[in-house]
């Protein structure tokens, strides 16, 4: 299915304040792949994800999602294909109840109420949170918030799922649940994180970003075991590979 491809070609991006966050960045992700994006603080991971659905537009180079070339015109279409979950679930749950929040996307797609309900139910079932449907988001635990934020994006049935630092602030058990959840998704997945163990568990492929450009790209098995390469990039071996 060629239409689930994500392709960045020589993408450059400069924030209006002059920071050059991406610089000739190129990669290509095909359907069903799961890819980890890693790199030091400020290397450009979050900026990269924001390009995936046209939230930021490249100042140079091109982004293609499926058959679509990312432009101001196509980005509405592209947003239906790519769902992004950002780091802090508090930023994403702005409606008064879990139901309203998960329903927000489908409602805006113009679906009728019955279909919306089905979608909401399916999405919440996926993350095992159907019980929370009537709670207000500020009464949820951190782990539950993360799960609901994912459900809210899944309710839009995206073809590609992108996540920024999905496990921050979760306790180890919730983190493990999240990892298992991510493993069961069949979508293309792109995950940016400092949690290299999570990346190792979830992603087959791994891209290291350094100063806005690709420093390494290959199977996680190779990259995440390459101590020298990792240390060059302000990273270190996944903790589970470190000996005590």
């Amino acid at each position: 299915m060629s239409h689930h491809i994500v392709e960045f070609k020589d993408v450059c991006f400069r924030y209006p304040d002059g920071t050059e966050a991406l610089h000739n960045l190129s990669f290509r992700i095909i359907h069903g792949e799961s890819v980890g994006i890693i790199g030091a603080n400020g290397s450009g991971k979050s900026t990269l994800l924001l390009h995936m659905n046209g939230y930021l537009m490249p100042t140079g180079g091109t982004v293609n999602i499926g058959d679509l070339h990312l432009t101001r015109k196509t980005r509405r279409e592209i947003r239906k294909k790519v769902g992004i979950v950002f780091q802090n679930p508090d930023d994403q749950l702005f409606m008064p109840t879990v139901y309203d929040d998960v329903a927000f996307g489908p409602q805006n797609l113009g679906m009728d109420e019955e279909d919306v309900q089905k979608r909401v139910r399916a999405a919440l079932d996926l993350v095992n949170c159907y019980d929370l449907i009537n709670k207000p988001p500020h009464h949820l635990s951190n782990g539950q918030k993360s799960a609901v934020a994912i459900a809210a994006v899944m309710a839009m049935e995206p073809d590609i799922l992108a996540m920024d630092e999905p496990a921050a602030n979760l306790d180890p058990k919730s983190r493990r649940l999240l990892i298992n959840l991510l493993k069961t998704f069949e979508h293309s997945k792109i995950i940016a994180s400092h949690d290299l163990d999570l990346i190792f568990d979830v992603c087959k492929r791994c891209i290291i970003i350094r100063e806005g450009t690709v420093a390494a790209d290959g199977p996680s098995q190779d990259i995440l075991t390459n101590k020298i390469l990792l240390e060059e990039n302000n990273l270190e071996l996944p903790l589970s590979l470190q000996r005590r």
């Binding site: 002059g18 947003r79 702005f94 805006n108 809210a152 994006v153 839009m156």
Partner: protein
């Protein structure tokens, strides 16, 4: 995306203000006071005055170049905020029909003259205010205000505001992104959704204020914000202030433009 361009502009100005040039190093009090004098002098010209305003362009030109501020950026910002002044000023040519001779054989409605005067004043005042902040970091402006006698509560408000604009700005940007991502165009931008987002933001801001208060208590806060005395007037500050004042005086009291014009006409005729 209009909302973040505003935010980015603040960020850019802020970065410019941390450069290290002669203008940046001047004492903030000197710069603040001379800027205010400049502004007063400029707007004290009568409504039909155009020619006499030209020499004042020297000030922004010098600040721009000595302070290494990109002129394009300042121009763009001035254009961005011009609509209100234009809106008010454009009525002058429409309402004020008296004719005034500009060159032999060329007369214009006087309204255009006063309109041009408004625009020129607008350019001068706005660009100087922007250049002040582009060459003086905001915390130092606040120190200057404090030293000039503004209430300390007000000044500490300014400092907090400055600090948290950037934090809350990022936060808002993330929330708006999350909304836009799931709202496909206009549908998610109803007042109803806005109110909720603003409500969420409001509550989180109150909670953040609480955490900040804890952090302040942890460091001995008892109700007074300490002031540090870091700035001293130097001779270059005094020299700068003096030369600005002299220039302002000359430009205000003598029609420099006309004298120069006469001088050149004298040469060529």
């Amino acid at each position: 995306m209009a909302f973040d361009s505003q935010y980015y502009n603040v960020g850019y100005l802020d970065r410019l203000s941390y450069q290290d040039t002669f203008v940046h190093r001047l004492d903030p009090r000197t710069k603040l006071i001379t800027t205010l004098l400049f502004l007063f002098t400029v707007i004290s010209f009568s409504k039909y005055e155009v020619a006499a305003l030209f020499p004042f362009l020297l000030f922004p030109a010098i600040f721009l170049t000595v302070g290494e501020i990109p002129p394009g950026f300042i121009l763009k910002k001035v254009l961005l905020v011009s609509p209100f002044a234009i809106f008010i000023g454009i009525f002058n040519p429409l309402l004020d029909h008296g004719q005034v001779a500009i060159l032999p054989g060329l007369t214009l409605p006087a309204g255009w003259l006063s309109f041009a005067s408004i625009l020129l004043k607008f350019f001068l005042t706005v660009s100087m205010a922007l250049l002040l902040i582009a060459t003086t970091s905001f915390p130092t402006i606040c120190h200057a205000l404090r030293r000039l006698g503004l209430p300390s509560i007000f000044v500490s408000q300014l400092l907090f505001l400055y600090r948290y604009i950037f934090v809350l700005g990022e936060e808002v940007m993330r929330i708006v992104r999350a909304r836009d991502m799931r709202s496909y165009g206009r549908k998610g931008t109803e007042i109803k959704v806005f109110v909720r987002i603003a409500g969420v933001l409001f509550l989180r801001t109150v909670e953040r204020a609480e955490r900040i208060y804890f952090a302040m208590l942890a460091r001995g806060y008892e109700g007074d914000m300490p002031v540090s005395k870091k700035y001293h007037l130097t001779t270059s500050d005094l020299a700068f202030a003096l030369s600005v004042i002299v220039c302002l005086f000359i430009f205000r009291c003598y029609p420099v433009t006309q004298i120069i014009g006469n001088f050149f006409r004298g040469i060529f005729s």
